[in-house]
């Protein structure tokens, strides 16, 4: 059955040259998507465009604007929303969850270690250069252990899928991963537009995320805090591209959204300026970079930070989430060693695979990479957002040659990976429904306990064949479903 007047047939969804999450590799409908097939087939074309317009209007109305960490771009831009959900079975998710939590534990253990005794370096399991000469290594927090030994309280792990049972981690985000507002709002909008879908499918809720986040943040209050911890979110301000997300989370958690100027240090503590006078702050979920946190400790020209904050932090008067210095665990060069961290600290085998990575700083790796440049993906070590990146198979000859020159000039600044056949999920496109490549960013919360809300941000590359899911480069988002048992 092809595209019909009433709806879209399944074989227009199928795809032969890769793993499609709805139709697998052979074109047989996979169980988690069973009911969605009926849904999409029964949806008249007119209804679909009506719903699409409705979704957009809803997004525009709530004013959600969005930028994934470091992507930049127009702050008022709306990211496209695709109504076709991405679905995981309970069993698939259980496996992912174990792997994600394992990784989040290992990353935090690594951070405690490298700011403490540095056992993993002493044991020769990771080159000391990658840790201590790393821009993100923050010597100002060396020797300081944050409450509960947690540095990264919200770990966003970017995952891609290449087969029914194959998941790879593309990147870890240990600082302040953004995008969770999209997970929450996509779900809200889907439930509003398609309540029937939620009656027919048993879908795990994600809306308790804010409550779990609040609990996680409160659980890492400093020892000096007696009573109910006062948690705040620190934003760089309303011109920031993720301001919407900051205010949404503050609203959902029922905590104050503050700017640097709203906080001040006095004696041993940090206070918020309120209409009833200074109010002590115990936990700061900060959405600003380390360098801007405190002009007395880091960049003296920072206008968005709080002078004296780091002294209070290091003397146990306030908690900062994520802890300053957490970024040393998530750059692309350290990434290669995360499986090693899992083995070293947890004594377990990693449940989630890394993508094979060549460190161009190593002579033999560089030689290999230069040899196979047109087949590989090359990324800058500190880059993000899909910029400064070569996708070999999709690149022109000139582009490849340009990267060859860049690599030769400064090999240490690049890593290379094989081009993965990312899984696809059916997506509404101009002509109907077609497979598009996706990734996944779940948000793992680490405090006294380690928790994962069943869902995440699914980004989709809307251009046919494109592997770049970044919103700045034609990416959109989908609602991510985890089915109940």
């Amino acid at each position: 059955m092809g595209k019909s007047a009433r709806g879209f047939g399944v074989d227009s969804i199928g795809r032969r040259d890769g793993f499609d999450e709805m139709t697998g590799t052979g074109g047989d409908l996979r169980q988690p998507y069973a009911r969605l097939q009926d849904w999409v087939q029964a949806m008249p074309v007119e209804l679909r465009s009506l719903k699409q317009a409705e979704a957009e209007a809803l997004f525009r109305r709530i004013g959600i604007t969005f930028a994934v960490y470091g992507e930049g771009g127009d702050p008022d831009r709306l990211i496209p929303f695709d109504m076709f959900p991405r679905v995981f079975s309970a069993a698939e998710w259980a496996r992912l969850e174990r792997g994600i939590k394992q990784r989040a534990r290992a990353l935090n253990a690594f951070l405690v270690d490298v700011y403490g005794r540095g056992e993993i370096v002493r044991a020769g399991r990771i080159p000391s250069r990658l840790v201590y000469r790393n821009e993100a290594y923050e010597k100002e927090v060396a020797g300081f252990v944050p409450p509960k030994g947690v540095y990264s309280h919200i770990v966003g792990i970017d995952i891609v899928r290449t087969g029914p049972d194959r998941f790879h981690v593309l990147e870890d985000n240990c600082r302040t991963p953004s995008g969770v507002s999209y997970m929450l709002e996509s779900r809200e909008i889907m439930m509003r537009m398609f309540p029937d879908l939620f009656r027919e499918n048993r879908i795990e809720p994600v809306d308790n995320y804010s409550e779990v986040l609040r609990r996680t943040l409160a659980s890492v209050a400093p020892l000096k805090c007696d009573g109910d911890p006062n948690v705040v979110i620190l934003t760089p301000g309303h011109y920031n591209s993720a301001y919407y997300e900051h205010s949404l989370l503050a609203d959902l958690m029922g905590v104050d959204l503050v700017e640097g100027q709203d906080l001040f240090v006095e004696g041993e503590y940090v206070y918020a300026r309120t209409t009833e006078g200074p109010k002590r702050v115990d936990v700061i979920y900060r959405r600003i970079d380390d360098a801007f946190l405190d002009p007395l400790c880091f960049r003296p020209d920072s206008m968005v930070g709080v002078p004296g904050l780091m002294d209070v932090y290091r003397s146990g008067g306030v908690s900062i989430c994520s802890a300053p210095g957490a970024g040393v665990a998530d750059d692309k060069a350290v990434y290669t060693y995360v499986p090693e961290m899992v083995r070293f600290y947890l004594g377990e085998e990693p449940l989630l695979e890394n993508v094979q990575t060549w460190q161009c700083g190593k002579a033999e790796d560089l030689a290999y990479v230069l040899d196979r440049l047109p087949e590989l993906v090359v990324k800058e070590v500190h880059g993000s957002g899909g910029y400064g990146m070569l996708v070999g198979p999709k690149a022109s000859r000139e582009e490849v040659e340009r990267f060859r020159a860049l690599l030769t000039a400064d090999p240490g600044n690049y890593i290379a990976q094989p081009t993965l056949a990312l899984s696809t999920v059916p997506t509404f496109v101009e002509e109907g429904v077609a497979p598009r490549h996706v990734d996944l960013r779940p948000y793992c919360l680490v405090g006294e306990r380690i928790e994962l809300v069943p869902g995440g941000l699914t980004r989709v590359a809307l251009k046919e064949g494109s592997l770049v899911v970044n919103s700045s480069q034609g990416g959109g988002v989908k609602d991510t479903w985890v089915l109940a048992e």
Binding site: G63, H238, D262, Y271, A272, R273, T274, T275, G277, P278
Partner: protein, 316 residues
Amino acid sequence: MLSRTAENLYWIARYMERADTAARLLEVGSRISLIPTAHGYRSEWDSLLQATGMAAGFAAKYGDPVQRNLESWLFFDRDNPSSVASCITAARENGRIVRTALTTQVWDALNTAFQELKQLEREERSRLDLSRLTDWVMRHAAMLRGAIDATLLRNDGFNFLNIGYYLERGDNTARLLDVKYYVLLPRVEFVGSGLDNYQWTTLLRAMGAHRAFHWAYGGEVTAAKIAHFLILNPQSPRSLITCVGGIANHLARIAKAYGRETPVQARAGDMLAGLEGETVERVFEEGLHEYLTRFIGEAAALGHAVHEAYFSGEMR
């Protein structure tokens, strides 16, 4: 509540009220300039601009007061921080920052005004007549006011919003009144002339108080009646006493909610008591201009005291 949130709410109100005043000023100015005067068209506008502290900026940008330039300056010009466009934009931006402290209706009122403003800015200027512009501003100001009154929780934020409204309105009334009495009519013999009456009436009209005035006083329009109406009559929605009374009321509610007073309550109480014990005769004895100047100064000091007590976040 976070001091900055309270301050943002307060400024939403001040900016919207200021936008409303800018529109009214534009209306007064163009009406007055329609009739021949002893001082000439130019000086009428100069004095209006002077009273609102916008004269220097206008002169620097445009030079001579030409009607069209004045409209641009008071309505559209972003270089003028008190223009309608600047005020509405600032009010909406303050609203965006504290979005979660607003109801959907209040946000919609602010946002709609802003979106429509952007449309107006795109329209050809020759197609926009002045009364349409001023009506538009007053309508949106009223819609916001209505949304606030109808939907907002009566918490401290609501009180800070209202303090902003009353403070700005009191200041604006004093300034508009001052323009009329002091600048437009520097020579005492003009007072009471037909021309004078026309201008007073125009002023009342701009304040939307034309009919209310006649209802309340009747008979001939005199300077004393107008001064009483705009300064001392608690029934007049724009009188100084109404504004100070509103401020004192909302400050008292805040003190009650927080369980303590600050120096600002006493200051507002003193101002109100002063107004309640005042008579028009004594105001004229002091000199209307002197009286209004003193009031504007006291209102500014009150605003500063509100800032110290609640927005600095340092009051112990």
